[in-house]
């Protein structure tokens, strides 16, 4: 284990670190500055469209965790299912998106936001009215190309990457 290279290796490393003094840091100061997330982000909530849902429960069957509970009753005059209970336990959900992928009527969406922490577990169980879309709960474009087209473009760290400036 000889002391190889006579100190030149350390000097090269020191030059790399010194050059970083001239570069802009890559930190984003959350919460004042935020990055725009991907258009297909599988955010921390599920959004349900009451009008398109037929109560077929494909999403519930697809979910690997079994977090979606659907109870329907037959509605004779309209000749379709009436969804009595549509409850999602967000505490168990792993946000895999298989339910959104499976819905044949495009009635289920992943959320666009990711700051959905709650103080109590019972607030994580979302029932019918909590799951609707609203101004605060926007749907994301995961598996929904029409919504994906309306969302803003993602900020990429690559966009600010000018490469190494020393002769790469």
């Amino acid at each position: 284990m000889k002391f190889e290279r006579y100190g030149i290796g350390i000097a090269k490393g020191l030059s790399v670190t010194l050059r970083h003094l001239l570069r802009r840091p890559v930190t984003t100061q959350y919460p004042e500055q935020r990055l725009v997330t991907s258009r297909r982000i599988r955010g921390n909530e599920l959004i349900w469209d009451k009008n398109k849902c037929t109560g077929c429960a494909t999403c519930a069957k697809t979910c690997p965790q079994g977090v979606i509970q659907i109870v329907t009753s037959v509605s004779a005059e309209e000749n379709k299912y009436k969804v009595e209970k549509f409850e999602v336990d967000m505490g168990y959900c792993i946000f895999c998106g298989l339910c959104v992928e499976a819905c044949p009527y495009e009635a289920l969406f992943m959320g666009y936001a990711y700051e959905r922490a709650r103080y109590r577990r019972r607030e994580l169980i979302l029932a019918k009215e909590d799951l609707l879309a609203s101004e605060a709960r926007k749907p994301s474009g995961y598996f929904r190309p029409k919504i994906e087209a309306t969302l803003p473009r993602q900020t990429l760290l690559l966009d600010g990457d000018r490469g190494r400036r020393d002769g790469h």
Binding site: M1, K2, F3, E4, Y6, G7, I10, G13, L14, V16, T17, L18, H20, L21, R23, P25, V26, T27, Q29
Partner: protein, 362 residues
């Protein structure tokens, strides 16, 4: 009784001079230590492509204050079976010598607390007392791992004292005096050019003595021993931490005085030159910490005894020969000769040097 070591133009007499300078040293040392903590965190962060602290005050300048406040309100835990008096005294013994070093550091031409004519010897003696404080800290914790860490620390400090002192002697030979003020005055050419090998040895040895990277294995979390300050919490830990940064400041000040020309410089006021040079040396220490990995304990000892110590002896020998020659040749010739000798010696020693043990057969 003559008033000793008093510059002739100082008003108020001896005790006024002493009082003013004690206040200046306290304020300077404590404020600069806080500044160094802030500077280290910011500089290291920017070299790592991130921002450092920037929320406590503009540019995060109050971060050390926040740290100190946090440490003050923590609970002071003392180990039940440990030696309580030694536990309480250890941070004190570790911090006070660091402050005492600044009594002989010249801030300006006449601005020094006591211009002892044995200045540098005083510094070498006092800086060894810090080690006793560290050992007391390890002993009082009643924890065999802390004691091991403290003993390792003592072993490394004692090993690195020798090359450090030998390189100081090289400077003293050139300046002709042990007094710090005289060493600065004798530097028409900064001694870093006349003693490049001495500077290298002093710098490496000093970094090892103050436990800064790449020799910070005492505080690393890759050892199961967290070092001598495992059992310390609250302000006692704060004091030990202050002692570490205070030693870094002291080393920067000593390097500035011995090798970089102290307060000498062309245009700006001398104390400003002193601060700039101290800041620059500290920046180099932080820069090395950011880049370089850590050495192992046996590699640390091998570096001291097999690499630095013979080179320090050779440096002393060559300097002594050059002193005899100095009146006859211009100093710049010696600069060239010294740099060439340094390169040859470092090259030669690196080829011959074996760093630490290998695998041990069990």
């Amino acid at each position: 009784m003559a008033m000793p070591m008093l510059p002739p133009d100082w008003p108020g007499g001896f005790w006024a001079h002493w009082g003013v300078f004690v206040v200046i040293i306290f304020v300077f040392v404590l404020a600069t230590i806080m500044g160094f903590i802030w500077f280290e965190r910011r500089a290291m962060a920017i070299m790592q492509a991130r921002l450092g602290p920037n929320r406590t005050g503009p540019f995060g300048v109050f971060q050390p204050v926040a740290d100190a406040l946090k440490l003050l309100i923590k609970e002071d835990i003392v180990p039940a079976k440990g030696d309580k008096l030694v536990h309480w005294l250890a941070p004190v013994v570790a911090v006070v010598p660091v402050l005492m070093i600044f009594a002989v550091v010249p801030f300006q031409g006449g601005a020094i607390l006591a211009d002892l004519n044995i200045g540098i010897l005083y510094i070498v003696a006092i800086s060894s007392v810090t080690t006793v404080g560290v050992f007391m800290a390890g002993w009082a914790s009643n924890n065999k791992y802390s004691l091991l860490g403290a003993m390792r620390q003592v072993a490394s400090v004692v090993s690195y004292e020798i090359p450090v002192v030998l390189s100081i002697i090289g400077v003293v030979l050139l300046a002709g005096s042990l007094s710090m003020q005289q060493i600065v005055i004798a530097q028409d050419i900064p001694f870093i050019l006349l003693q490049p090998l001495g500077f290298l040895l002093f710098f490496i040895g000093a970094c090892a003595e103050i436990n800064r990277a790449p020799f910070d294995l005492m505080e690393a979390d890759s050892e199961i021993v967290a070092g001598f300050n495992t059992e310390y919490s609250g302000m006692k830990f704060g004091l030990l931490f202050t002692a570490e940064y205070g030693e870094a400041l002291a080393i920067s000040a000593i390097v500035t005085t011995l090798f970089l020309g102290g307060w000498r410089g062309p245009v700006l006021p001398p104390w400003l030159w002193f601060l700039i040079k101290v800041g620059f040396v500290f920046f180099v220490i932080v820069w090395i910490r950011t880049t370089v990995p850590r050495v192992r304990i046996d590699q640390l000892m091998a570096l001291a005894w097999k690499f630095l110590f013979p080179l320090a002896l050779l440096n002393l020998l060559i300097t002594a020969v050059e002193i005899l020659v100095l009146p006859a040749v211009s100093p710049w010739v010696l600069v060239g000769v010294n740099i060439a000798v340094m390169i040859v010696l470092v090259f030669l020693w690196s080829r011959l040097f074996k760093l630490g043990w290998g695998r041990v057969e069990v």
